[in-house]
């Protein structure tokens, strides 16, 4: 095994530093809570992303059910207009920024290094920082529930309604600063993950041998890298308007409110694709595995993903067909939007072609993947109908749009994520989820989902506008709203089956004495299945050398003399034993979490009193220097003679 026999030779001319620059040492041998708080292990960070997202998912889900409860019957008064506005705003904001995005980040964090054959991401501490700063921003946003009742401007938060004159309560400030802070995490995460994918691939892992999931995540991170700063700029303007009396959205001074819309949607539309692409990546792993065939048209899957990424930048104004952007813009964006359906369609057809002639194993992961293919198709088709601008003038801001994007984001992204959870659960936790509950989970969600959002197509076409606290009996929306509400409760309950499943499967596994699930329980294709389950802390005992797309599968199967494919070895026979002896891992650090949680202090200061900003900013600066100057590693083991102590990092 990998045992360090002697220090590697130093290149000539370098001096070996003995003393760290900083006064603080890094935490050692931490256990329990401190271990999680200071970890820089991409797998633990991935799990924490997932847990945090699930926590916010429950909050967002409760908000969704409150909305449906209020709309179950006409002229209902369960929620007041003010409460309703806050609840639907928080529902949308939480689901987009604190659920779908971080679940994507959870999968990316956990899987990227494993799928490209790396020991960790390029910058483990920045990775920890990305998570903590996302959590800090998310918690700050949610603290508004108790400090004034939540944001009330809609997740799109249009100007000038988001200004101090029309929304004087602090909800919008929490929205603005919470997402601003969370955005820093997305940005640093994007830089980190792109660097990881581009630079830390195992030998032989060329770009065109990367799993589709890695590709889709790479595209996603590029979208984040360029989309987040545009939102950040808009939020900066709003911050200056609300807190410091600037006039960017002050119409009495001649400002144009459409500026916010353009900035928001230049961010917002790539955002839509960066929410769905990770799920596309996931099902592109699951469907081949359980069809027992390679993905059909791999290069087309990759290039269509890239095409979606590029085209996603040229269609933002289709959110603004009725905003008065002029017929020329409407025409251009309308046509562009139509054609973004092409690469998406290519993906759908390639998945179907993968299933064509396959031998399908219909377990829960596969069912959720097929669920994505079908439900997303419905969302895609309804998308084409309102890409037609004249038709959109009737459909936009109605429940038809609500139906559309829930088919895309719930039926698409979340179904994909559920597929991924069922698929990678044994790799992450060492046991499989119960298939029986899984089937209930899937079919219940399909039923509940279609009952909830299917009728919204009809309601929208019948003229039911969005963001309405209530509607009148005479409008004729009663029946379908009731159906939708019933569906939403079915959906809510059956979604929770995931948690039931996790708990029950874990108990049974524990009761059975924690049997080893094996490295490769699904007879899967990519190299993350060549290591033990759960994935050992050091990932790979030996960095794999890759010679094929689906490299692990090709190690297991080969043609015999007659040209027939035969299993030459099982996954467990090939798997690395998980012996991490001598593998050196980055030491944990306190600074990522300290730096992350210093930012909301500045945030609260901006809302309540600028004096609070002083300690917040001081803590931020101290954390940055503490981070930059802390020893590269534990001094005890930082003795390979390789490299000096530590270097400055710019405050990214």
């Amino acid at each position: 095994m990998a045992v360090i026999e002697e220090p590697l030779a130093l290149p000539s001319g370098t001096t070996k530093a003995r003393r760290p620059l900083g006064a603080f040492s890094r935490p050692r041998n931490a256990t329990g809570l401190v271990d999680w708080l200071t970890t820089v292990d991409h797998k633990k960070i991935g799990i924490m992303y997932g847990m945090a997202a699930m926590f916010f998912f429950i909050i967002g889900g409760v908000a969704a059910l409150l909305i449906r409860l209020q709309l179950a019957a006409p002229n209902s008064t369960i929620l007041s207009a003010d409460t309703y506005n806050r609840v639907f705003t928080m529902h949308g904001t939480i689901m987009v920024f604190l659920v779908v995005m971080p679940i994507g980040a959870a999968f990316a964090n956990y899987l990227l290094p494993l799928q490209i054959g790396a020991r960790d991401v390029a910058f483990p501490r920045i990775n920890a920082f990305s998570f903590w700063v996302f959590l800090a921003g998310g918690l700050m946003l949610n603290s508004s529930w108790f400090l004034g009742g939540g944001a009330n401007g809609g997740w799109f938060n249009y100007a000038p309604n988001n200004g101090a004159a029309f929304s004087p309560s602090t909800g919008i400030d929490f929205w603005n600063l919470g997402l601003f802070i969370a955005g820093i995490g997305s940005l640093s995460g994007a830089v980190n993950l792109i660097t990881t994918v581009l630079n830390m691939r195992a030998p032989g892992m060329t770009l065109m041998r990367m799993p589709v999931f890695v590709w889709m995540t790479l595209v996603t991170q590029f979208l984040l890298l360029f989309a987040i700063p545009v939102l950040t700029a808009a939020q900066l303007l709003l911050l200056l308007d609300r807190q410091f009396g600037a006039n960017f959205f002050n119409v009495t001074q001649g400002a144009d409110p459409l500026l916010w819309q353009h900035l928001f949607w230049i961010f917002g539309h790539p955002e839509v694709y960066l929410m769905i692409l990770p799920a596309f990546g996931i099902v592109s792993e699951v469907i081949p595995t359980f069809s027992r065939k390679p993905i059909f048209g791999y290069p087309f899957m990759v290039f269509s993903g890239i095409a979606i990424g590029f085209m996603g930048w040229g269609v933002w104004a289709h959110h603004m067909f009725v905003s008065g952007i002029g017929p020329l813009s409407v025409t251009a964006f309308s046509v562009a939007t139509m054609f973004i359906a092409v690469p998406t369609g290519v993906k759908i057809l390639n998945w179907l072609a993968t299933m064509w002639g396959g031998k399908l194993i219909l377990n829960t992961a596969m069912l959720f993947s097929i669920g994505l293919v079908t439900q997303f198709t419905i969302g895609g088709l309804s998308g084409v109908t309102h890409a037609v601008a004249p038709s959109d003038t009737q459909q936009t801001d109605t429940y038809y749009i609500v139906a559309h994007f829930h088919y895309v984001l719930f039926g698409g992204a979340l179904f994909g994520f559920f597929a991924g959870l069922y698929f990678w659960w044994p790799k992450i936790f060492g046991y499989k989820l119960n298939e029986k509950i899984g089937k209930w989970n899937f079919w219940g969600m399909v039923l509940g989902f279609n009952l909830t959002f299917g009728p919204m197509h009809i309601l929208g076409l019948q003229g039911m506008a969005r963001r309405m606290q209530t509607y009148d009996v005479s409008m004729g929306f009663n029946l379908w709203n009731l159906v939708s509400t019933i569906g939403s409760f079915i959906l809510g309950v059956t979604t929770l089956l995931l948690f039931v499943n996790a708990w029950k499967s874990y108990s049974e596994w524990k009761a059975a004495g924690r049997p080893n699930v094996g490295a490769d329980p699904w007879d899967a294709r990519t190299i993350e299945w060549s290591i033990q389950s759960p994935a050992p802390e050091h990932n790979f005992d030996v960095t794999p050398t890759v010679s094929d797309l689906d490299d692990f599968w090709h190690q297991k199967y080969a043609e015999d003399d007659e040209g027939k494919l035969r299993q030459v070895a099982t996954g467990d026979e090939l798997a690395q034993p998980g012996n991490g002896e001598g593998v050196h891992l980055p030491a944990p650090s306190y600074w990522p979490i300290v730096l992350a949680f210093s930012l909301p202090i500045v945030g609260y200061g901006l809302i309540y009193s600028l004096w609070f900003c002083i300690p917040g900013t001081l803590l931020t600066i101290i954390s940055i220097y503490g981070w930059a100057l802390e020893p590269a590693d534990d001094l005890d083991i930082d003795d390979h003679g390789h490299g000096p102590d530590q270097e400055m990092e710019p405050a990214v």
């Binding site: 004249p390 009737q394 019948q462 035969r566």
Partner: protein, 451 residues
């Protein structure tokens, strides 16, 4: 490993039986859904429907949009059936029966097919290109028609009601913003004020239009973004403060067409409704001539006269009743929008408070049907110009046709309890708890004279 896999196969076995019935269940659900849709459509009236289900009552613009989108829906439907059907068929056909499961027995390993990929890239692109041609045609057709109407109306959205200014003199200007007594381009360059072009008329919530004539709208807003939408007459267009958007509506038949604000505009977004009342051209002429008249002052020491006193003391700081000598220079309401609904001809309207309450109740023309529902398209507008005091000549049951006094009084006394508003932030109407029952009665009597 092999044992593990076949164990997995056996485990699937138990689940497989459940699965066999499930795809059919899914299809069944959709079927039930569509049948239900049909039933529901036939059952209830859908005043805001974007599709003309019963073949009448849509304006030509809405019809043009529907004509464009209907075949696209059909195409989408075909693709839907093909893809979803294909996915379900593939799933059923290719699933591995547990007894047949064998890890050695791999399916043919196809990696892709270049020409197939090119085909299913090009084919949808061509289809979409064809759709785009029709789409672009419709966009420009609708757009170029927008300024061709004879009557111009400025539509102004504000939290949470609509104001309409009719350019009666046809000069293209709606205000005398600099107060120099001349209405010209200089005024048009300035931000929106309350100072009306003296030749124009102003009303609220109900857009009265002549049948068979295109009415051009200049849509803007005084505070946040709203969206003007009357589904049966045209799509929607946002009302953005600081911008004026051209739009147009046209009705082929007399009637009432309802709509509601469709851009989230804060607290009472759900209660910002409106309607268009399409009258015959003759009725419209009568209506607009009446709107140009100043309000009459009630006789002294009558109930109405006392109501006017109460109005002057409590309401006129925001609401305008123009008795012919209104001076905009003295008028500066404590509202962010600097505007409240103009009530000069309040009694000629059929709804108030952002079209959520009826001004009148009962059977107007004596046909035994309730003619009033603020959110319903069923209103019979042939008698729109008839007011309660005249109704007695028209219908025997006129006693049933009356002002909605109870609701009006509730509204005046405590508007924020009826419709969420934020008067403390200068947005919306405050409560007047100090008004006595008698004062409210007199106030309502006064409002009824404003015809």
């Amino acid at each position: 490993m092999r044992n593990g896999l076949s164990h997995m196969g056996k485990k699937f076995g138990s689940d497989m039986k459940i699965l066999q019935s499930k795809p059919q269940l899914k299809l069944g659900l959709w079927l039930v859904g569509f049948l239900g849709l049909a039933a529901a459509c036939a059952d209830e009236s859908k005043p805001l429907n974007t599709f003309d289900s019963d073949g009448e009552g849509q304006g030509p613009k809405a019809t043009e949009i529907e004509g464009l989108i209907t075949p696209i829906f059909a195409i989408a439907g075909v693709v839907f059936v093909l893809v979803i059907g294909g996915a379900i068929l593939l799933t059923i056909k290719n699933r591995v029966k547990p007894e047949d499961y064998d890890p050695e027995d791999l399916p043919t390993q196809t990696h892709g097919n270049f020409s197939l990929e090119i085909m299913w890239t090009i084919a949808p692109a061509i289809l979409l290109a064809v759709i785009s041609v029709f789409m672009v045609q419709t966009i420009w057709d609708l757009e170029t028609k927008n300024a061709e109407g004879e009557l111009d109306v400025m539509v102004i959205g504000q939290q949470w009601w609509w104001e309409y200014r009719y350019d009666v003199d046809g000069d293209g200007f709606y205000q005398d913003a600099n107060g120099d007594g001349v209405v010209d381009e200089k005024d048009a360059e300035l931000p929106l004020t309350l100072a009306l072009d003296p030749d124009d008329v102003v009303t609220a919530n109900e857009l009265v239009i002549p049948v068979g004539q295109q009415v051009d709208l200049e849509i803007t807003s005084r505070d946040v973004i709203h969206s003007f939408w009357i589904p049966a007459l045209n799509g929607k267009r946002d009302a953005v403060p600081g911008r004026v958007h051209t739009w147009s509506v046209e009705a082929d038949e007399a009637g009432k067409y309802t709509g509601w604000c469709t851009e989230y505009c804060g607290l009472s977004h759900a209660r910002m409704r409106m309607s268009a009342i399409a009258l015959t051209p003759e009725d419209f002429e009568t209506w607009i001539a009446n709107q140009a008249e100043p309000a009459e002052v009630p006789e002294e020491d009558t109930k109405e006269w006392r109501g006017r006193e109460t109005f002057a003391a409590n309401c006129s700081s925001c609401h305008i009743v123009d008795e012919g000598d209104f001076n905009y220079d003295d008028y500066d309401p404590e509202l962010i929008t600097k505007a409240a609904p103009n009530l000069t001809h309040f009694a000629t309207r059929s709804a108030f408070a952002g079209s959520i309450y009826e001004i009148y109740l009962g059977d107007k023309d004596g046909d035994g049907q309730d003619d009033t529902d603020a959110n319903d398209n069923e209103l019979d507008v042939s008698d729109y110009l008839i007011l309660p005091q005249e109704a007695s000549q028209e219908a025997e049951s006129s006693a049933d046709y009356r002002a909605n006094s109870a609701q009006l009084k509730r509204w005046i006394q405590n508007a924020p309890s009826q419709k969420a508003m934020a008067p403390d932030e200068q947005r919306g109407m405050p409560a007047f708890p100090g008004l006595s029952d008698e004062q409210l009665d007199e106030l309502v009597a006064y409002l009824a004279t404003l015809d």
